[in-house]
């Protein structure tokens, strides 16, 4: 050969003695396990704990601020200057992140309102990412700028979930009530696609958009493998219990008639209906609202622990187990009577 071997290829000419050493009879093992998903890891970690309590996954409602005013939104009632004043400050948010890290939280979902509407979103996001949380961001997509997309390209989230309730500009903006929001949302999705950031488009099937739901599914599929789609069918009451979103709720008959033929939607429906009576709320999962209140889940805010007054660890281990959960004790409905009707 006309070239010299590189040193990495060097081998003794007859095989060194070491080559024949037996590796049998190992007294220990060494290695690394690839966790296929955070869920798989969660299951494995919990299996090792007798009390089955570990705050592995949390949802944090960073703010109730939002640049849109969606007709069925359940947080928009708190999108007011007075309420915003009481939301966690940047310092408080960063301090809370440290507590979550220390407690062993692994997966964190940043939601709102619109989390990008917080002016300090990138500070909080970078801090959370640098601490090694596996992050998901819920967004309406309209505030995703090239700067935000670049931030996520370099500090990659597990997924960005974007609400997309209409495929036509007219319908989309009828729901968001903000002119121009459709184009900005589509642009935001494109920015994430360019950077191959996994996106899930989420559609709430409602009376006003039911004729576009299947088209939305087709649209999401056409965007390629980095984009997935899911559908929700049940409205959630507003935080001030006005009941306004329920006017857009499809009845069970309408759901079956309009969407029942679609396998993906039928599966989603079946999953929601057949959720186990006992979920992980308060044992492996938790929810924190924009004001630092620790709760069992976003759908159950009746009882809270104030993280401004105590530590996350204290709240999770000493207080959350005391909170009432209608699923666990089959008690009263919390905030979504229709949903509980379905469960029943």
């Amino acid at each position: 050969m006309a070239y010299g071997p590189s040193p990495a290829l060097f081998r003794p000419r007859c095989g060194s003695v070491g080559r024949f050493d037996s590796l049998e009879g190992r007294v220990y093992t060494t290695g690394m396990v690839l966790e296929r998903s955070a869920e798989q890891l969660t299951d494995r970690l919990l299996a090792k704990r007798a009390d089955q309590r570990l705050p592995l996954s949390g949802q944090w409602e960073l703010t109730c601020r939002c640049n849109l005013r969606c007709v069925m939104c359940y947080t928009d009632c708190f999108n007011t200057p007075e309420k915003i004043l009481h939301e966690l400050s940047t310092d408080e948010a960063l301090q809370l992140l440290g507590q979550l890290e220390e407690a062993g939280c692994l997966e964190l979902t940043l939601t709102g309102g619109e989390p990008l509407a917080r002016p300090d979103f990138d500070i909080i996001y970078r801090e959370a990412h640098g601490k090694g949380f596996v992050l998901t961001v819920f967004s309406n997509g309209t505030l995703i700028t090239p700067r935000i997309a670049d931030l996520w390209a370099h500090a990659r989230p597990k997924q960005v979930e974007i609400s997309l309730h209409g495929l036509s500009k007219t319908l989309f903006e009828r729901i968001t009530t903000k002119p121009g929001s459709f184009d900005r949302c589509r642009q935001g999705i494109a920015l994430l696609q360019e950077r191959q950031i996994p996106v899930r488009l989420k559609t709430a099937a409602m009376t006003i958009n039911r004729h576009e739901v299947l088209a939305l599914q087709a649209f999401a599929t056409s965007l390629g493998p980095t984009v997935s789609w899911s559908v929700g069918e049940y409205m959630r009451d507003t935080l001030n219990h006005s009941g306004e979103p329920y006017q857009y709720q499809l009845s069970e008959e309408e759901l079956r008639a309009e969407l029942g033929a679609n396998a993906a939607i039928r599966d989603a429906h079946d999953r929601q209906v057949s959720q186990p009576a006992s979920c992980g709320s308060g044992r492996q999962t938790f929810h924190i609202d924009a004001y630092g209140q620790l709760q069992l889940c976003s759908n159950n805010r009746r009882m809270s622990y104030d993280l401004r007054r105590g530590s996350f660890r204290d709240g999770f281990y000493n207080h959350l187990p005391q909170f009432a959960c209608p699923r666990q004790n089959n008690a009263l409905a919390v905030s979504a009577p229709q949903r509980l009707d379905v469960i029943a």
Binding site: L9, G31, V33, R36, G132
Partner: protein, 567 residues
């Protein structure tokens, strides 16, 4: 070598006593097989005077052979011969190397008895002799039929290989031969003092011959060995005889051709060996001008001296002393600017030092200096990999394979890049090629398994082979989380087209990961592991190497220049 001139064997003479005519000098020792083949030798006794046995198993059993097993015991024994299976069915002689050419010589019945004359230091004390025996036992380990044949006495070790009796002894213990023998001498016999099969070129210590050709020839004459065909190998390639001592081979040849002419202790004036030694002296003095003159004189006198083993840089590179290697390569670029190899080595050293743009410039220059720039294109490909420019990497590696499609290292890199580009079938083909060419880098099996079993998870190639002398450190892009008493690694750098993954470490891996918080060599990790766990050194080496390979594969550690440890 004069392969074509030899047609028959000359009359027997006593080596070192009478002038010998049928004597051939060889660059590489396996050329001896072709000389014996040409001379049509059959059923001869071979006296093999060498620092190495040059026998190793060549896999030649085909799975079809199993159907010939007469009894189930034979079947089991054949299966147990793990080194014997040639699944690629490559012809025997295509698998011949300097390390195994006696195997085909036995199979072709050229020789039916072998005396391996070992250097006297091999026999100097019981512990060193035990080292010889251990190396033979290790070789026999996977061959149950011949494992029991090994016998040791204070005069010799005997065994059988392929049914052929082999006697291992020093020169003084050779018996008297009635029939002429094939006399086969390797120059490295005079330079090898340990039976460890490690080429002396790579040693940090100055190589000092344990015996001079003059004394050797006197002792050879005393042994009164009748011979009609002599082969003498220089064995510079591979590093078994340092180039500065290659002239010992010439002196042995001269002494056997003309026993009456007294030998000098130093190179003959006016020969390449002399000017090469002067080149090294001038390099030591940093006298570049004089070094360049002496070097030019050397390669004019004997162009074969223009070999990588002439360069101290290559040894430095093998020891991962990249700054030293770069210094020597720079020097040689100035001394011999038209020579391809120093440019290539310079590019390689710069790559290891992380100076990618400079490395690419050096490698592009290297490409212009040769008609076969396989390795220059290969390293340009690796530069592109460092820049994560997969298309450029693909293009460079393709060109490397176009020039020379049999380099397994290039196939290994090609496999990694193809996987990265999402070309799974091509990655699999490249990995198979790599294996069929006899190269089993750490990570190859994992790659093949990954390509076979999981079509949804793809990870980057292991472009940096873990070497225990290399210095590694954790990358800041991999965050360590402690959750529920477990250590979990969370990658925070973008890994396009991959699903996010988490990695859990077991206790030993977590211990090693802790050590990697600061710059640490693989060797230091092995020692730390042995300090903290009940584990022998071979196992520790194996485990550290495989763990480092995994970490490289998930981009969790970086390679640092060795100087960071001394800084």
């Amino acid at each position: 070598m004069s392969r074509t001139t030899l047609t028959r064997i000359s009359p027997a003479t006593l080596a070192g006593v009478h002038p010998v005519k049928a004597l051939h000098t060889l660059e590489n020792h396996d050329e001896a097989f072709r000389i014996w083949e040409k001379a049509e030798v059959k059923n001869r006794t071979l006296v093999h005077i060498d620092g190495h046995l040059d026998f190793y198993w060549i896999p030649e059993k085909s799975p079809d052979d199993l159907s010939d097993a007469p009894i189930s015991r034979s079947f089991k024994e054949w299966i147990a011969e793990t080194e014997a299976w040639n699944l690629s069915k490559t012809p025997l002689t295509d698998l011949m190397t300097i390390g195994n050419f006696l195997y085909p010589a036995m199979r072709e019945q050229m020789v039916n008895q072998i005396y391996w004359v070992v250097p006297d230091p091999f026999w100097a004390s019981p512990p060193v002799r035990r080292q010889v025996a251990r190396s033979l036992q290790a070789m026999l380990k996977n061959h149950p039929l011949e494992r029991a044949s090994l016998k040791e006495t204070h005069r010799s070790i005997t065994l059988t290989l392929l049914g052929c009796p082999v006697t291992v002894c020093p020169l003084r213990e050779l018996p008297s031969f009635r029939q002429p023998v094939l006399l086969d001498i390797d120059t490295d016999y005079l330079l090898t003092s340990l039976c460890d099969y490690v080429p002396v070129y790579y040693s940090n210590k100055t190589v000092i011959p344990w015996q001079t050709p003059k004394v050797f020839l006197e002792r050879l004459a005393t042994a009164a060995i009748p011979t009609d065909l002599i082969t003498i190998a220089y064995s510079v390639d591979g590093g078994y005889t340092p180039l500065a001592w290659k002239f010992y081979g010439d002196q042995i040849a001269q002494g056997l051709r003309q026993p009456a002419v007294p030998l000098l202790d130093n190179p003959t004036p006016g020969q390449a060996a002399e000017s090469y030694r002067e080149t090294l002296d001038a390099v030591d003095r940093q006298d570049v001008e004089q070094a360049a003159k002496n070097w030019q004189k050397t390669i004019e006198r004997d162009p074969t001296y223009r070999t990588i083993y002439a360069l101290p840089a290559y040894r430095e590179e093998a020891a991962h002393r990249w700054v030293m290697a770069l210094g020597y390569y720079d020097l040689w670029v100035r001394m011999d600017p038209t020579w391809y190899y120093p440019h290539l080595g310079r590019g390689r050293s710069l790559w290891h030092l992380g100076l990618i743009p400079q490395a690419e410039t050096a490698l592009e220059t290297a490409c212009q200096k040769t008609t076969e720039p396989t390795m220059a294109w290969y390293w340009l490909g690796r530069c592109a990999v460092r820049r994560e420019d997969w298309q450029a990497a693909r293009s460079c590696l393709r060109r490397a394979l176009d020039y020379f499609p049999y380099n397994p290292e290039v196939w290994w890199a090609w496999a990694g890049v193809a996987e990265k580009c999402g070309e799974r079938a091509e990655a699999r083909r490249a990995a198979d090629q790599c294996r069929s060419l006899g190269y089993e880098p750490v990570g190859l099996t994992a790659l093949i398994r990954r390509l076979k079993t999981d079509s949804t998870k793809q990870k980057g190639p292991s472009m940096n082979l873990p070497n225990l002398q290399t210095v590694y450190q954790r990358k800041s892009s991999m965050i360590t989380r402690r959750v529920a008493g477990e250590i979990i690694l969370v990658p925070i750098q973008p890994r396009l087209s991959e699903d996010p993954a988490l990695f859990t470490l077991d206790n030993v891996a977590a211990f090693l990961w802790d050590q990697l918080a600061k710059p640490t060599s693989g060797q230091a990790l092995c020692l730390d592991l042995q300090d903290h766990f009940t584990v022998n050194s071979a196992q520790a080496d194996q485990d550290v190497a495989s763990f480092l390979a995994e970490l490289i594969q998930i981009d969790a550690i970086e390679v640092l220049p060795a100087q960071v440890l001394t800084a």
